[in-house]
């Protein structure tokens, strides 16, 4: 059983070090009965893989995946630098 104190650290390291994930921009927040994953990734496949891997690794924990896909539209404004 994972020590609750170490849970966020274990998830954070898995997110970064797992070869199929390699994400450093995912937030891990513990709620009363669940862990919420947040942040944004570049594709829906990456989001789904994160949720799959975390759920497999921590089957006793309710995982909520609030991870979004970063938009990639062209900009409509320019900023003048002075």
């Amino acid at each position: 059983m994972t020590n609750q104190i170490d849970l966020e650290a274990e998830i954070q390291r898995l997110l970064t070090e797992h070869d199929r994930i390699s994400e450093q921009g995912i937030t891990v927040q513990r709620r009363e009965h669940q862990v919420v994953l947040g942040g944004e990734v570049e594709s829906a496949q990456r989001r789904d893989e994160i949720c799959r891997q975390i759920t497999e690794r921590f089957p006793d924990i309710e995982i909520t995946c609030d991870i979004g896909i970063t938009r990639a539209q062209a900009p409509s404004e320019v900023e003048e630098i002075s």
Partner: protein, 247 residues
């Protein structure tokens, strides 16, 4: 007038190829060059570098990049750089380039940079060999970036890094990880030259705007921060129209 498009942390692999392309096809109508602030790939493999070159290469404007920490993950950074260079992309590492744009010389000096922290909460070159190696790397990269910046003769000078040169653009990240997101020495390097704009990535939860202690504007262009394919910044302008052509 020079318009620079910039983004960082695009983390391209085969699942991303095609996502940026519609916006990139419009880029020549909006900007004169594209600068990318590192983390071009997920794991720094040659295959991912080819995906990046497919997605971001072949544009009608020059593309200038630095590598990020993800691009070092497989210890193949030289091979990654070679793939990009072969695709016509300029890769900077403590080096510089000058682009002739609209009768102006745009100078770009770039480096991945490194961590180390900021005033009041930074690592010191002291103690264990591992710690001295860490901070020694920070100092060496910053020194060489400063030399690259000071070597450029141009009308507008841009500093391009992956790691952050100031803490302001990290606001939103946990304070505890600031030393892994950037270092004040990069800010000192940027302030040692007449830099007009400093661009960086790496901090996905950071903030877009900051300034160095010397007053140089800093922009965090990490993709999750800017939330679009790229931002556009205008330099050397007499007047500015904030609406982009064909927007």
């Amino acid at each position: 007038m020079i318009r620079i498009a910039a983004v960082g942390d695009v983390h391209v692999d085969k699942d991303v190829v095609g996502r940026y392309r519609p916006a990139l096809e419009q880029l020549p109508d909006r900007a004169d060059a594209l600068l990318i602030a590192g983390d071009l790939t997920r794991h720094g493999t040659v295959e991912e570098a080819r995906c990046f070159a497919t997605e971001f290469g072949g544009l009608e404007v020059p593309v200038v990049v630095v590598l990020g920490n993800h691009d070092h993950q497989s210890d193949l950074q030289d091979d990654v750089s070679a793939v990009l260079t072969d695709a016509g992309i300029t890769v900077l590492e403590c080096s510089s380039t000058v682009l002739e744009i609209n009768g102006h010389r745009l100078g770009i000096a770039g480096s991945k940079g490194f961590g180390g922290g900021f005033a009041g909460a930074c690592a010191s070159n002291f103690g264990e060999r591992e710690m001295k190696n860490f901070v020694g790397t920070t100092e060496d990269i910053a020194q060489r970036l400063g030399e690259a910046l000071r070597s450029v003769r141009c009308d507008a000078l841009v500093a391009l890094t992956h790691y952050a040169p100031v803490p302001e653009t990290l606001v939103g990240e946990p304070l505890e990880i600031y030393p892994f997101l950037g270092c004040y020495q990069l800010g000192q390097a940027i302030d040692s030259a007449p830099t007009a704009l400093a661009l960086h990535g790496h901090a996905h939860h950071g903030s877009e705007r900051g300034r160095t202690p010397g007053g140089v504007p800093v922009r965090n262009v990490a993709h999750p921060v800017i939330k679009q394919a790229y931002n556009v910044y205008q330099l050397l302008s007499d007047s500015v129209d904030t609406e982009l052509v064909n927007a």
